[in-house]
Symmetry: C2
Subunit: 322 residues, 2 copies
């Protein structure tokens, strides 16, 4: 079973989201239009829209009212990706050139701001300022997460707490908000909305841990970027944190991972040492731990085909497929 | 009479805004706090807060409720400045180092996003989604303006229309929104809110034309950046557009202004030629034209000390002080 099957109950709505994404970038400036839609056209899993739609579907059948939110969530996510690619000077994303590479800094920064403002306009149309507050708050925390990641690069002393704070802000919060807001637009009770918020949070944590594992073990083809990108950029993720403590080669790892040159030159060796140390196995346990916590929230939600599906998704994310 | 005197009726409130600006940047990350407050500490005219407060004061005495809006408007403006300095790789602003120079791209882009999100949170607290829609819409247009400026750099074929569209988005819209939202939070009628929106728009146009003039004729000390920054960056403003048409040296001007190298090397000569051609005088007439249009909107507003003041400000902005 793959992610597409979990999203099957909202497949029709996801198609509408897909076409709405591009339609919502609506500027008379051709170059801004091209740059803003470039990343959309590159595709993506549309996780955030899918979660908003699935959360709502637990409580209502008709999802027309959820579509603009779903679009806004994906646009918010994309705005951060466009800015990330400027910051990291990335050349490729999702198997195609980045906006930054094709159009440069000025256009990329403005395109990111434009896309984010567009998503705000979409959410504002709901006339629910609580949704804007949640989104603004999340956006601030995402910025903080970026800074924490910056401060933590090449720092081999960072521990589990620092890592969890980073992935919370990088991934978990926006998935959490997607679930939360999707449910908020339905007659769900406060308790149910909170359960969905927590489900999304824990699932997002599991998802990012797994994503960080894949950076070690998946091929460039699967990733859409080179294997070991994190190590090359000095980003210390969970498998590395483990290896830095327990690898028989931890001394070399400390030395290499704190040097930008060594991280680039010895990336392949570092990957091997982290895997040999058991860093991947350890991280899989962490992913399973968070997936389990996500599943536990489902008990506060109505028992439907969708919630069962959400439980299966948690299992799927945290089970190794290598 | 200087700008401070025009703002005298809201001087006390502006002091509260000043201290609130820093208090509203509230992150546990020291480096983000420092970067975000750096620009605040450099000071500034606080035009946008002042306009929001003045517009409200025409209709109500107590401005406590307007303060968060005033703070949000200045933060929105600052967020664009922080990003601008990344884009332009600027070294100084308001007589001090830029965030970009002191902390680099990654922090600057995130600090800009953080500050903008903070301003959204402030506006969302009003529980008026129409205000968020206006702000989101304005933000999109500001992005478009940046792109138009980018596309127009070193392009000596740009005309008046292109210039007006650029300065509208760069300056006039946010001043317009400041006046509009300040009035919107009071019992002002729709007609009065619209009059304030238009007043702010035209005043903002006059203000930016004057600012573009000052880039030719004011000293580095007054500007906080070198005289002729626009010419050096290939930004074609109103005095230059005039000179490109009517200077006896227009051929050389076309040639030089379309070349980044010549713009840098011959900046002083270009400045002299534009001034000699009468570009400054022409631009002053444009500033006066917009100031007059601004003043004309005041007839739809109650006659108070404040509206008289706003009329005087329009005169002041468009009168040459060299």
């Amino acid at each position: 079973m793959g992610p597409n099957e979990f999203f099957a109950p909202v497949a029709d709505e996801l198609k509408i989201v897909e076409s709405s994404l591009e339609n919502n970038i609506n500027t008379t400036l051709a170059v801004l239009q091209d740059a803003s839609t470039h990343l959309i056209k590159a595709g993506g899993k549309r996780l955030r829209p899918a979660f908003a739609l699935l959360a709502a579907r637990v409580f209502v059948d008709e999802l027309e009212d959820i579509i603009p939110l779903a679009v806004a969530l994906e646009l918010t996510h994309m705005a951060t990706l466009v800015h990330d690619d400027v910051i990291d000077d990335s050349k490729t994303r999702r198997g195609t050139d980045t906006v930054k590479r094709l159009w440069g800094n000025r256009l990329s920064i403005n395109a990111g701001n434009f896309i984010f403002s567009r998503s705000l306009a979409l959410v504002a149309a709901y006339q629910r300022c609580d949704m804007i507050s949640i989104l603004a708050d999340t956006s601030m925390k995402i910025c903080e997460g970026e800074i924490i990641q910056m401060l933590s690069a090449y720092n081999t002393e960072v521990g589990l707490k620092n890592y969890l704070r980073r992935i919370e802000r990088k991934t978990a919060l926006l998935i959490s908000v997607s679930c939360q807001l999707g449910a908020l637009l339905t007659p769900a009770s406060n308790r149910e909305v909170t359960a969905f918020q927590k489900y999304g949070y824990y699932l997002g944590m599991a998802f990012q841990v797994t994503d960080d594992i894949l950076d070690f073990v998946a091929t460039e083809e699967v990733l859409g970027k080179p294997t070991g990108s994190d190590v090359r950029q000095g980003i210390i993720t969970l498998p590395t944190i483990y290896a830095l403590r327990f690898s028989p080669h931890r001394q070399e790892l400390h030395q290499w991972l704190s040097s930008p040159e060594e991280c680039t030159q010895r990336a392949d060796t570092i990957l091997d040492l982290v895997i040999d140390a058991g860093g991947i196995d350890y991280a899989y346990y962490a992913a399973q731990y968070y997936a389990e916590k996500a599943k536990r929230q489902l008990q506060f939600l109505p028992r439907t085909q969708i919630t069962e599906n959400l439980g299966n998704m948690a299992d799927f994310i945290s089970i190794r497929d290598y």
